[in-house]
């Protein structure tokens, strides 16, 4: 299992649009990917789980990947969040 912290830079946090981009990308991961945010555990492959957590701009979250391609998956997800998820 690998983890890394990353800061959410999207102006309105992880709202519908960036959440959709993130869930779609995570859907391609072979490892099990979650976001740890405060005491919440978010399933990154589920847009509902991401949106439901209400992650705000500037929040530091921890990405955790566990499984076959965990290293590549973690790198891809961190870079995607750092780049602002297409916003």
């Amino acid at each position: 299992m690998v983890t890394q912290k990353v800061t959410v830079i999207n102006p309105s946090g992880l709202h519908a649009r960036p959440a959709a981009v993130l869930a779609k990308a995570a859907g391609k991961c072979k490892s099990n990917a979650v976001i740890l945010y405060g005491d919440k555990k978010i399933q990154i492959k589920s847009i509902l789980s991401i949106m439901g957590a209400g992650v705000k701009k500037g929040a530091e979250v921890e990405i955790q990947c566990d499984g076959e391609t965990e290293k590549e998956d973690l790198k891809m997800l961190v870079e995607l969040i750092e780049s602002g998820l297409g916003e």
Binding site: I9, P11, S12, H15, A16, R17, A19, A20, A23, K24, Q43, K45, S46, I47, L48, S49, M51, G52, G54, K56, K57, G58
Partner: protein
């Protein structure tokens, strides 16, 4: 004929047309229980409805971010798991299982404290309706089928509904639900369709094919208008459209008076979105950025980093001038995460700069955030509610302290950043000459100034007629402030309601005001007055 007054204007404008009642077909779930043998059949029903909806959404999602998100939600395993679980474990049919799952997920969003996320419950329900219509085999009505001029009334309108909306035929919208940040409001504003939301009970009052006139800016709806009113609204509509076009055509002209004085025309904003909305009006800057919204919309005191991100984005958007007012809470503005002691006279109590100076560490976080953002544009700091030179000096002292810290840390900021003050207390008027020597600019806050000078509570309806910024005492005070500022060569602006009142423009120009800052909706009107 019946006239209704409402207060939630989502998009201004005037319209007169026949009503189009947009009613959902019956989407109530079947309540029949199922047996163990039917489980796989019900799961299959849901699965094929889901596949059909995904196909529908795939078409809509090309080039549309809202539907791209809907597509993800429809295919989400959280939703699928919830529905299948209810079918298998609780003996519910696919329709019931869907309805309950959607309600549960939507409720999570609706319980959030963020207005934007609250509204996303509507997206979930929208997808739920799509799925339910497929399960029940019914067709939903289509706004794209409208081929004559109408005013659409509905319980609420969802993204699926508005995507087909054609502004050539839909002249106005009235909904029973929804807020001014809801989906329909945003779309209506972008399409310039007059819209009123949250009009409870309107569907019961409007029969099919009845005539309706509406003035969305004023919040007036007239049902079954007589011939005279109808003509009146048609004329008003045309006049409104012409007036809008004319005002918009003035936007490329800088605000220069007949005498040749260049006036700064600025916007009052509460967030970055407000700045984006004001930019098309060709503004000279932001005369008032109300930083308190950052504090009020949060569940904790926003950190330096959180504030910095917002101020930086704002400074980059509006490089000419961004005036950030430091925290102005207390009075009628409270914070959910900080308990204020009950006060006998909150407007004369612990508020604004008084709080900031007493809570120095919190204040420093804000000042540091503003200073860091100043590296990206022309940022100015403005202190609210100052009554004494000691307060102004103390606040400026804290700015200096932050600057020194940042110098040691090697953090970039604008070394010449201006520190100005709001002129909104009687004390600041009487001491204006002294303040002008130490402040870099003045901005007159007419709302509090009027209330304090006249001793009239602006929220008290009983004495509302006594509250006026045209009172000679207020006008004289404004004149004294401007004179004192100009004597020391500093810029004097105004960011209260009066600055956005076009009837006040002549007198304010006469008194020598340099900058008018107001909500975006008034800018076009004030520009016109200044040009004349």
């Amino acid at each position: 004929m019946e006239q209704i007054h409402v207060d939630k204007t989502a998009s201004r404008g005037i319209a007169a047309a026949l009503v189009y009642r947009y009613l959902e077909p019956d989407l109530m779930p079947d309540t029949q229980r199922i047996t163990k043998e039917q489980v796989s059949e019900e799961k299959k029903k849901f699965d094929s409805a889901r596949s059909a909806v995904i196909r529908e959404l795939e078409e809509l999602a090309a080039g549309n971010e809202i539907f791209a998100a809907h597509l993800e939600i429809a295919g989400d395993f959280t939703l699928q798991d919830a529905v299948e679980n209810k079918i298998a474990e609780e003996g519910k049919n696919a329709q019931m299982a869907l309805q309950e799952s959607i309600d549960e997920i939507a409720a999570i969003f609706e319980a959030m404290d963020d207005a934007y996320m609250k509204e996303r419950g509507a997206d979930i329900k929208d997808i739920g309706k799509r799925l339910m219509a497929k399960l029940k085999g019914v067709k939903r009505p289509d706004l794209g089928d409208i081929r004559s001029e109408v005013i659409v009334t509905a319980k609420d309108l969802y993204p699926s509904d508005t995507v087909k909306l054609n502004p050539a035929f839909v002249k106005g919208i009235i909904t029973e639900e929804g807020g001014i940040t809801s989906h329909v409001s945003i779309i209506a504003k972008s399409m310039n369709i007059p819209t009123l939301v949250g009009v409870k009970g309107i569907l019961a009052k409007l029969k099919e094919d009845c005539m309706v006139c509406m003035d969305a800016g004023q919040g007036i709806i007239v049902i079954d208008p007589d011939e005279k009113v109808r003509r009146e609204y048609k004329e008003k509509e045309e006049a409104y459209d012409q007036e809008r076009a004319r005002l918009v055509s003035l936007r490329n002209r800088p605000a220069v008076t007949k005498e040749g004085k260049r006036i700064s025309l600025c916007a009052n904003v509460g967030n970055v979105e407000d700045i984006r909305n004001a930019l098309p009006m060709n503004i000279d800057g932001v005369g008032l950025f109300r930083s308190e919204f950052l504090y009020m919309e949060n569940d904790h005191f926003p950190t330096e980093e959180e504030q910095y991100q917002v101020y930086k984005e704002a400074a980059q958007l509006i490089p000419d001038e961004l005036t950030i007012r430091t925290l102005d809470i207390g009075g009628d503005k409270e914070l959910s995460y900080f308990e204020f002691e009950k006060e006998e006279n909150p407007f004369l109590g612990w508020r604004a700069i008084r709080i900031s100076l007493d809570m120095k560490e919190m204040f420093k976080e804000q000042i540091r955030a503003i200073l860091r953002a100043s590296a990206f544009g022309h940022v100015r700091i403005m202190f609210p509610m100052i009554i004494s030179l000691e307060e102004l000096r103390a606040a400026k002292e804290i700015v200096e302290e932050c600057k020194q810290e940042m110098d040691t840390e090697g953090v970039e900021y604008d070394r010449n950043i201006e520190c100005g003050m709001m002129m909104e207390t009687p004390a600041s008027v009487l001491l204006a000459e002294e303040f002008a020597k130490e402040a870099d600019f003045f901005s007159i806050g007419t709302n509090d100034l009027t209330q304090y000078l006249l001793a009239v509570d602006r929220g008290n309806k009983k004495i509302a007629d006594r509250y006026s910024y045209f009172h000679p005492a207020v006008v004289r005070a404004i004149g004294q402030i401007i004179k004192a500022g100009h004597k020391e060569g500093i810029k004097v602006g105004m960011c209260g309601e009066m600055a956005g009142d076009s009837s006040a423009v002549p007198i304010l120009l006469e008194l020598g005001l340099d900058e008018f800052s107001m909500s975006a909706g008034s800018i076009d009107y004030v520009r016109e007055q200044i040009l004349n």
